[in-house]
Amino acid sequence: MHISPVLWEFLVKWLTNSALFPAEASTIAPWADALYFFLLLITIVGLTLVGTLVFGFAIRYRKERNPVATQIEGSTLLEATWTIIPLALFLICFVWGALLYFRIYNPPPNAMNIYVVGKQWMWKAEHPGGQHEINTLHVPVGQPIQLTMISQDVFHSFSIPDFRIKREVIPGRYSTVWFEATTPGTYHIFCTQYCGTKHSGMIGEVTVLTPEDYKKWTEGSTSGMSLAQNGERLFASMGCNACHSGNSAARGPSLAGVYGSKLTLTNGSQVLVNEAYLRDAILNPSQHITAGYAPIMPTYQGQISEEGLIDLVEYLKSLKTNYRVQQTLTTSESNNQSAPATPEVVKP
């Protein structure tokens, strides 16, 4: 058969460029693939077994060979066998899957945190150093990265198939996922939760760099201010420092070193202060009143963007002493510009 060389060349190129198996580019990937191959093995064995039985019986007992059927009621022993063996296999799948799940959703303590904001139809990444990226994500190789993600509008889902990770990005709540890239290169980022017209355009690329390249990239693309520095500005301009000044007479609790601590709330419950708690306490303060304080903080719902919230959260995480808070307080008071555009503070 004659195939035109042009077509042949096209076909060869087309087929070699097509993928059959995703790259293993994170520390999770081999673990996920191991489970995948185990499950695949079960499937193939199961299918072969059923296939052999069905075809075997179909040939052996077809009407030409076996004109009269022998009636069999059933066999408790056999039935117990194919109840217990699948059950055992499925339970192994459950345990194995659960272990992998913990691995993927439990970030190691030394992970570097990057914020991701999803909105119709783009991904915005914010690095702690203040680098902003849209639909791209630069990460160093060999360093655990935790993504703290939130959506501004609908459900999205952040997926990097080559890393075997994925997590829903939810409006109104932080969700996290982590990975550690092993091979430099670029990989797909997909939004996998249907999110509207340009759902299939909500894609990006994660670029894994060597530590040196990453350092170069960070320096080359910084906007000059880190997230925490932006947050500090916001903290002052929104007048947060007026109450959270760290003074003993202040109307709000001191926020220095609050991140990572255990707080007792007015309703007596103990909470661990993490990113999600900080964000929620800014938006729904009345549900997060530290014991000993009055519920007077106004809500900032609708007055601050998700990016602003991230800046504030990052700032509060970095806040170890109240020295600079008080400095900014005196500056802003002397400038007499502390009136934030917030609603009337409720009378106690």
Binding site: Y105, N106, T176, L272, N274
Partner: protein
């Protein structure tokens, strides 16, 4: 042609119960009981029982509901089948509540 092959085996079974007429006297007693319980539940709401308040209110409501189901709705006199059906309904309702709560309750347990 309707009942010539009527087989008693199909009616004397747990799915069947003799029909029972409940009289006005029973209904009146039930009616008074229900009104009394309504009074009690309102009164109980004005007593501070702390966490017990909603529990008492729900317990009284459930009692009332059970009384209505058993007597006004005749389940007490019905076949096992109907009793099972009613139970199945509430059972599924409980599944909906408890299984969904496994999520909401345990969300606060840990970081992930």
């Amino acid at each position: 042609m309707s009942s010539q092959h009527h087989d008693p085996a199909n009616v004397t079974n747990p799915e069947h119960a003799e029909h029972h007429i409940v009289g006005p006297k029973t209904y009146a007693i039930i009616f008074i009981t229900l009104l009394t319980f309504t009074g009690i539940t309102v009164a109980a709401a004005f007593v501070n029982l702390g966490i017990l308040n909603p529990i008492v209110a729900l317990a009284i409501a459930s009692t009332k509901a059970v009384i209505v189901i058993l007597f006004f709705m005749h389940v007490y006199y019905q076949s096992k089948l109907v009793k099972m059906t009613v139970a199945a309904g509430f059972f599924t309702f409980l599944i909906l509540i408890t299984m969904t709560l496994t999520d909401y309750i345990s969300r606060a347990w840990g970081l992930w």
